[in-house]
């Protein structure tokens, strides 16, 4: 049992970038096809990443680099806590600590675009955090434990049947977390935008590469949480979880390609509104049922 947890955590550290990078490559391919283009190779994200590490290193403030290293470290640490099956609430806390390092890294340069992006990033974090915490609460209510491994081992049925509202809320904030349109307000994948590259504006070469890598690790955790809704003690549920992850992933691409950016005010209101309505209602009902 313990050895399998260690193996999963090690696999996470080793494989997450490859899996998520590949998903990212397919994402770009699918997006291109949706727009009637051919699109780049599915390995493009890896080419990009490698290139970033090969570029010359310029910087506006040297403190930025060590903040980014710390950011990567904390993201990976949260992932290890999650995939090794420890406390879900601590995963969320650790993720928000990591996010703080990203914010410090980008504001340390005193650049208008990265400052603008950072403050929007902060709003994004504020929009998402209640839902992330509530997901942990939901799992606790359904299974009486915050421990990821026990959540899986103790549930006879997939927890989604108790937590549909939490799931809806979580998928909603995933769009924000993945920096997808309509909530790509903190940074942008496209040129000619008012934020330039937002949070990552002043990150050059390997710094940007590290941040990209960290985002892949983070996405692996988030998709893992999506999977957790479907996992139960039966190993077959693993297949269901994978399918669910892929469906959610495709849904995010679809949303990305069919919507235009909104203002942060609307994002905040929408995210909190959905959290209160979907997750709050589910929480209330679950409290009554589990009484």
């Amino acid at each position: 049992m313990i050895s399998s947890r260690v193996i999963i955590a090690v696999l996470y550290v080793l494989l997450a970038p490859f899996v998520i990078g590949l998903l990212d490559g397919f994402d770009r391919k699918i997006s291109a096809r949706m727009q009637g283009r051919k699109g780049p190779s599915v390995l493009q994200p890896f080419f990009d990443l490698k290139k970033l590490f090969e570029k010359e290193f310029l910087t506006a403030n040297k403190t930025q680099l060590f903040m980014i290293y710390s950011y990567v470290f904390f993201i990976i640490l949260s992932g290890v806590i999650f995939y090794a099956g420890f406390d879900l609430l601590l995963v969320v806390f650790s993720l928000s600590t990591a996010a703080m390092f990203l914010i410090l890294a980008s504001t340390s340069t005193h650049s208008p675009y990265s400052a603008q992006g950072t403050h929007r990033e902060l709003v994004q974090i504020m929009s998402c955090e209640p839902m992330e915490l509530l997901v942990a609460v939901g799992f606790y209510l359904a299974t009486k434990t915050f421990n990821v491994s026990e959540v899986v081992a103790n549930s006879v049925n997939s927890n989604i049947i108790y937590l549909p509202g939490f799931f809806v809320g979580f998928v909603f904030i995933l769009t924000i977390k993945f920096r997808k349109s309509p909530f790509d307000i903190a940074t942008s994948h496209h040129a000619h935008q008012e934020v330039i590259k937002g949070v990552t504006s002043e990150m050059v070469g390997k710094e940007y590469g590290m941040v990209t890598l960290a985002e892949w690790y983070e996405n692996a955790i988030l998709l893992g949480i999506v999977g957790l809704f479907f996992l139960n003690s039966n190993p077959v549920s693993f297949v269901g979880a994978i399918i669910a992850i892929l469906v959610v992933w495709f849904l995010e691409i679809l949303i990305d390609n069919t919507s235009a950016r909104v203002k942060w005010q609307l994002m905040l209101k929408l995210a909190w509104g959905v959290t209160i309505v979907a997750a709050g209602m589910n929480l209330f009902l679950l409290e009554i049922i589990m009484g």
């Binding site: 806390f93 675009y113 209640p130 421990n147």
Partner: protein, 644 residues
């Protein structure tokens, strides 16, 4: 032990005379340092002595109990007269009514009421142990800081004000004495007396500058705290009339044994009193108003003393609040305050005001924890009390020092503080980190509180509280991080002379060291202080936080200190070409100016988000007051109505 405790309570009161009568600045400073030194030494010595003796709960009396009883009775009456005089002097006579009613009620019951069972007046247990260390150490350090600060305050910055430093420093000592008395008392009458002293002293400290604003705010503080005092007076009245006792622990035991009807009434009254003192909504106004006073008194009121008196009492009675109406009221008010105050903290840019709201918000979390009344929440609450006292005191001192040095305490003006005043910036960062970052106090407490609230029996309270905490922690993260992000980075200002006095630095560095020690010593603290504490209150010793999570937290902890340092040295030697930041290619050679449309260089200013339109004070303050008043009134009616 009796002698030590007597000294601890009486000495500060007597020592207060010294700064009051000595007007030579140097000489007075010496006596204040000496006094603070003695208070630190005495409190630590007493605490250690008791700890080494095995940490047994002690019930005892001061020598000459009879005399002290008389002193307290006369003290109560004296305070009443003082309040009446001052309120008429400043044409706010109505306020004196509050004082007169409650004091006469208590005095009359004491003199003419039924005979009260004679029980020891004082008690020393684990919670007292924690509290005297906080008051003794953090409080005295503020005292040390105050000497240097007040010097700069009058000599450099506020020459127009009357120099009443003697009075100010004397009041600080009175505060210590009152707080020590408060945490030792088990007789409600004694507690009431010390409670009133803190109310009056804080009133006097807030009104220190005697400006119109200061006087208005001080009276606001006075009436709110007197209202709280009425709560204690009512509890005393119920205790004497119904069960012939004024002993806090007897009342608590009665309420635990039969948590309904009449037994709950005194607990409700005490909880009400504690809510006013810990500045929960709707009584937050006084703590915000307290900002007009010089920084040391804000630090004193916010961190180690005044507001802690409220949460201390709540922690005391929390076992009697588990899963009943009083507990629900306290929890809801606390949770609501946690969320609302942190929203307001986002919208203000005055550093001290951010701190004020964050104090209220943090106290909200503590209050919510006590209202839940489970072991793990008390564990969390005590943790938060400790962390909050140290880091908030440090933050206030630091903001005060920054204001003295740079002339502004606005967060917006702290851009790049790291580059110009690195020492102050580091202290500020440690303080902020201590307030909200993972593995520090806040995280552990949120973790425990969430878990406990999910298990709370009332579905409504449970759901609401979980939502309050989830949203509150998001908003808390927002305002701290945005402050933190201002400090780092480059500064457009030139380096100037640091005007911070040596003794201010001593106090702040000591706080920083304490903070780090607390963080590193947290497993020990949990094992050797908080476990016996919860054993005291609940008679059980469960491991609140699992061994596994403890390990993770230690990893996080190491991470947060070691990883950035390690990375710092790793990247230090990194060769990097320095470039200027991207401003569409329009920088004028540096990161602070750009070429404007007229071709002239123009300074760029980057401001934080304040979200005034979404959650501003103007928009939400009144609704927040109304909602919280509604909660309090409804629950108090239930509690009072249930008693008859």
């Amino acid at each position: 032990m009796e002698m030590l405790v007597t000294a601890l309570i009486c000495l500060p009161f007597l020592w207060a005379i010294l700064p009051a009568v000595i007007h030579n600045s140097k000489c007075r400073a010496f006596f204040v340092y000496l006094g603070c030194g003695i208070v630190i030494a005495l409190s630590v010595f007493t605490a250690v002595q008791w700890f080494l003796a095995g940490g047994q709960t002690l019930n005892f009396d001061l020598p000459y109990r009879e005399t002290f009883d008389h002193v307290i009775l006369f003290g109560d009456l004296f305070l009443m007269c003082l309040i009446t005089y001052l309120s008429f002097k400043y044409k706010k006579g109505v306020i004196s009514l509050l004082a007169i009613v409650q004091t006469l009620l208590v005095a009359a019951l004491e003199l003419f009421g039924p005979e009260v069972e004679e029980l020891p007046a004082l008690r020393f247990d684990w919670l007292t142990f924690v509290m005297i260390l906080i008051i003794g150490v953090v409080g005295s350090l503020i005292g040390i800081y105050a000497v240097g600060y007040m010097h700069g305050y009058h000599i450099h910055h506020h020459k127009e004000l009357t120099d009443r430093r003697s009075f100010f420093l004397a009041m600080i000592f009175v505060f210590f004495g009152a707080m020590f008395g408060l945490v030792f008392s088990q007789s409600l009458i004694w507690m009431y007396f010390f409670w009133e002293i803190t109310s009056v002293t804080s009133f006097l400290l807030i009104g220190y500058t005697r400006s119109d604003e200061a006087i208005n705010n001080s009276f606001k503080a006075l009436w709110m705290n007197l209202l709280g005092g009425c709560g204690i007076a009512a509890a005393i009245a119920v205790g004497i009339l119904a069960w012939n006792t004024v002993n806090l622990y007897e009342i608590i035991d009665l309420a635990i044994a039969a948590p309904k009807a009449l037994y709950l009434l005194p607990i409700g009254c005490l909880a009400f009193a504690a809510l006013t003192k810990s500045a929960q909504f709707p009584f937050s106004g006084w703590l915000l108003g307290a900002m007009v006073a010089p920084t040391p008194s804000s630090a004193l009121l916010h961190s180690a003393t005044m507001v802690k008196a409220g949460v201390y009492l709540l922690i005391r009675i929390s076992a009697a609040m588990a899963d009943n109406y009083v507990g629900n009221m306290v929890a809801l008010i606390g949770g609501f305050t946690f969320l609302a105050a942190s929203c307001f903290a986002i919208t203000v840019s005055d550093g001290k005001k951010v701190l004020a709201y964050s104090t209220i918000s943090n106290l909200g979390l503590i209050v919510a924890c006590t209202g839940c009344g489970y072991e793990e929440t008390i564990w969390a609450a005590v943790f938060l009390v400790i962390f909050h006292a140290v880091s908030k005191s440090m933050l206030f001192q630091c903001v005060g020092a920054i204001e003295n040095t740079t002339g502004s305490r606005d967060v917006e003006d702290m851009q790049g503080l790291m580059a110009i005043f690195p020492k102050l910036a580091v202290i500020l960062m440690i303080g902020i980190a201590g307030m909200f970052l993972a593995p520090f106090g806040m995280l552990i407490s949120k973790w425990a509180a969430l878990k406990a609230f999910i298990d709370t029996s009332s579905v409504y309270v449970s759901t609401l509280m979980v939502l309050f905490i989830c949203f509150g922690s998001a908003t808390t993260m927002f305002y701290w991080t945005k402050w933190l992000s201002k400090i780092l980075g480059a500064s457009p200002k030139e380096k100037t002379r640091d005007l911070t006095k040596k003794n201010e630095y001593i106090s702040m560095f000591f706080h920083a060291i304490m903070m780090v020690a607390l963080i590193l010593g947290f497993p020990w603290l949990s094992e050797h202080v908080l476990k016996p504490l919860s054993n005291d209150m609940f008679g059980t010793v469960d491991q609140v936080i699992s061994y596994q999570n403890m390990i993770i937290m230690i990893v996080l902890l190491v991470g947060i200190f070691v990883v950035p340092c390690f990375n710092y040295f790793l990247t230090k030697g990194q060769k990097a070409k320095q470039v200027i930041t991207y401003m569409g290619g329009a920088n004028v050679g540096d990161n602070f100016n750009f070429v404007s449309s007229t071709g002239e260089p123009k300074e760029m200013h980057i401001a934080n988000f304040y979200m005034d339109e979404i959650m501003g004070e103007k928009k939400l303050f009144t609704p927040a007051i109304m909602i919280s008043t509604f909660i309090i009134i409804v629950y108090m009616i239930i509690v009072i109505g249930g008693a008859f």
